[in-house]
């Protein structure tokens, strides 16, 4: 049996089984449990890489659950798919890589960071469950299945944010987040039900072929956009982000960054693959652009006034989500016009490239902030100071992350932001200018944050502070290396990782044909 044929289900199934096995393994001791969780995520990462390689080489992969055979999408004699079908294209594989890297590094970082808490087997179980949910959301080709995995990520993420129940703010942030996630999830379910009621199908590819953009479809689209922008933390649905990020343990915050990006994945998948040219691209594109601009503006201006380091990073992260919406929104606005090839596709590449860069440098910043609070017990920038004397490596990692988020060369944030500026400028110069100004402000924010935390004389309170332990330094080192490498060789990354993902979004017919076969493409 060819094990590689089953990779699409294995990336979901292995972490899911691992999640429920973790409490059992936990009986054998803390060390066994930690290694088990890391082993499961390592295995999943290897599978995700294998999946990405195969998809990038030979186009979308489909996997039928419970069918006569795994590649047989249509039951004999029928013209529509009735089973749950997983479909992995370039975009899904791209996100699967991000999820794999962040969850694996998060688990390694957790071994030292969260040690000493009780109930850790549940912590790792929830982490694996979150990974399973996120993988599920990106590999599924079924609308209801998408909702189920969305709810799995909501529940697991809430459990992890609220994990440190001793802190009042954890439960408060988790409650706020859960209420909003729930409303978003129900909006998605309602939208799925509306589509099902009209077309009698749940498969994205089949729906994409039938969809007519009637009034009900417009309502469904609005519900999808609202719910998924909420999950992505875009302004004006961002208020849970700055509460939930600081309340979560640092490694979870990093995984949560990937989790919000899955919201973007859903948004792109719905807009490009499900509706495609049937929606009015200019209008919906502009809505996405405006969401992006609002996120950039509010995110940056709220970050200026923060005194809590993690809250500051969270707000500037909202601004970065805005860049991703801006880039892909421009691509959506010119979908189907000649401008797509002259700059629209480039803008989408910039936005998508920014997603993977953001996962790395934002994760790095959160881990560095976690290392600081792990050693000093505070994240308040007014109390911190002079830490560069004691935590030299953390300081270097923070500089790398800060420079990347502000878009300084030669770090990865510069590479993707440059593509966004160039292509958005051709679409509308004012948008590019706003994006550029926000970047400069971000630089100022991080200069100040670095200065107040690391620079200055050694404070007496932090005289005995040591560097963070090795298991925390390792994930930060990996992320820092990736941040620098992606900044030094952006051409290679864009060519091999980003372009296939962007092409997968634009090429709706390929997604449909993978399930329904050639000749049954867009009607």
């Amino acid at each position: 049996m060819d094990i590689l044929a089953h990779v699409p289900i294995l990336v979901v199934g292995i972490p899911l089984l691992g999640a429920f096995a973790t409490p059992l393994i936990g009986r054998a001791g803390a060390r066994a449990r930690n290694w088990f969780a890391i082993f499961i995520l390592l295995l999943t990462t290897a599978l995700a890489i294998a999946l990405a390689v195969s998809v990038y080489q030979s186009g979308p992969r489909v996997y039928v659950l419970g069918g006569q055979s795994f590649g047989f999408t249509l039951p004999s004699g029928y013209f529509f798919p009735i089973r749950i079908i997983l479909e992995v294209d370039g975009m899904s594989a791209f996100f699967a890589l991000i999820i794999a890297v962040t969850t694996l590094l998060g688990a390694i970082y957790s071994t030292a960071f969260i040690a000493g808490h009780s109930g850790l087997e549940k912590y790792y179980a929830l982490l694996l469950l979150l990974a399973a949910g996120m993988f599920g959301m990106v590999v599924t080709g079924d609308a209801f299945n998408f909702f189920v995995f969305l709810e799995i990520t909501s529940i697991a993420a809430t459990g992890l944010v609220a994990f440190r129940t001793g802190r009042a703010e954890s439960s408060e942030a988790a409650f706020k987040m859960m209420v909003l996630y729930n409303i978003g999830g129900l909006f998605v379910l309602l939208a799925v039900a509306i589509l099902y009621g009209q077309y009698g199908a749940l498969n994205f590819a089949y729906l994409a072929r039938l969809i007519e953009y009637s009034l009900l479809d417009v309502i469904a689209l609005a519900l999808f956009v609202l719910a998924l922008a909420l999950k992505a933390g875009a302004v004006p649905m961002h208020m849970w982000v700055p509460d939930a990020y600081p309340a979560a343990p640092a490694p979870i915050t990093m995984v949560m960054v990937a989790n919000t990006q899955i919201g973007l994945y859903g948004l792109y998948r719905i807009c490009f693959t499900l509706y495609g040219l049937k929606l009015t691209p200019a209008l919906v594109g502009w809505i996405v652009i405006i969401l992006g601009l609002a996120s950039i503006f509010i995110g940056v201006s709220m970050a200026v006034i923060q005194r809590d380091l993690k809250r500051l990073i969270a707000y500037s992260g909202i601004a970065q989500i805005g860049y991703m919406l801006l880039g892909v929104g421009v691509g959506l606005a010119v979908l189907g016009t000649p401008a797509l090839n002259s700059y629209g596709l480039m803008a989408m590449k910039g936005g998508i490239f920014h997603i993977i860069n953001h996962a790395f440098y934002e994760g790095l910043l959160f881990l560095a902030a976690g290392a600081i609070s792990y050693r000093t017990g505070t994240r308040n920038l007014d109390e911190l100071g002079g830490l560069a004397h004691n935590m030299r490596w953390t300081a270097i990692f923070f500089i790398i992350g800060g420079a990347a988020i502000a878009g300084l060369p030669p770090f990865n944030g510069f590479a993707s932001k440059l593509i966004i500026y160039e292509s958005v400028f051709k679409f509308n110069p004012i948008l590019a200018v706003i994006a550029l100004l926000a970047s400069i402000l971000t630089l100022a924010i991080y200069t100040r944050a670095f200065q107040s935390a690391f620079v200055g004389p050694q404070l007496p309170a932090y005289k005995d502070v040591r560097e963070a332990p090795a298991s925390m330094m390792f994930p930060m080192g990996v992320l820092a290396i990736l941040t620098v490498l992606f900044g030094l060789f952006p051409d290679l990354v864009v060519k091999y990782l980003v372009t296939p993902a962007a092409q997968a979004l634009v090429n709706q017919a390929q997604y449909i044909e993978a399930i329904l076969g050639a000749g049954l493409g867009v009607k």
């Binding site: 909702f147 709810e151 459990g159 439960s171 408060e172 859960m178 729930n182 129900l186 099902y196």
Partner: protein, 116 residues
Amino acid sequence: MIANFPYVTAILLMIFGLYAALFRRNLVKIAIGITLMESGVNLFLVSLGYRRGGIAPIYTLAPEAGERMVLPTPQALTLTSIVIGLATTAVLLALIVVIYRHYGTLDADKINKLRG
């Protein structure tokens, strides 16, 4: 007209639930609002699957040619969504218990360590 009644009820339930979840200040009432919304969506889903005179798709009841069997997908979806709803409600209520232990109140206006 009368056939649309379940849909109208479902939409009303959702609107009431959304209102309670967004504008009520008591955490338990917020949770109830979420549950109401859930019921509305579930009602909507399950009423999509209703066919007058349809037969349940059970193998031993397989109808003669020409009669209608009902596709069980909406019922299956509704069941799944009810189970998910149970899990999310449990998480919400558990969080409410923890919040009450910390703050001694369920008033959302007094639970405000996180602002700005």
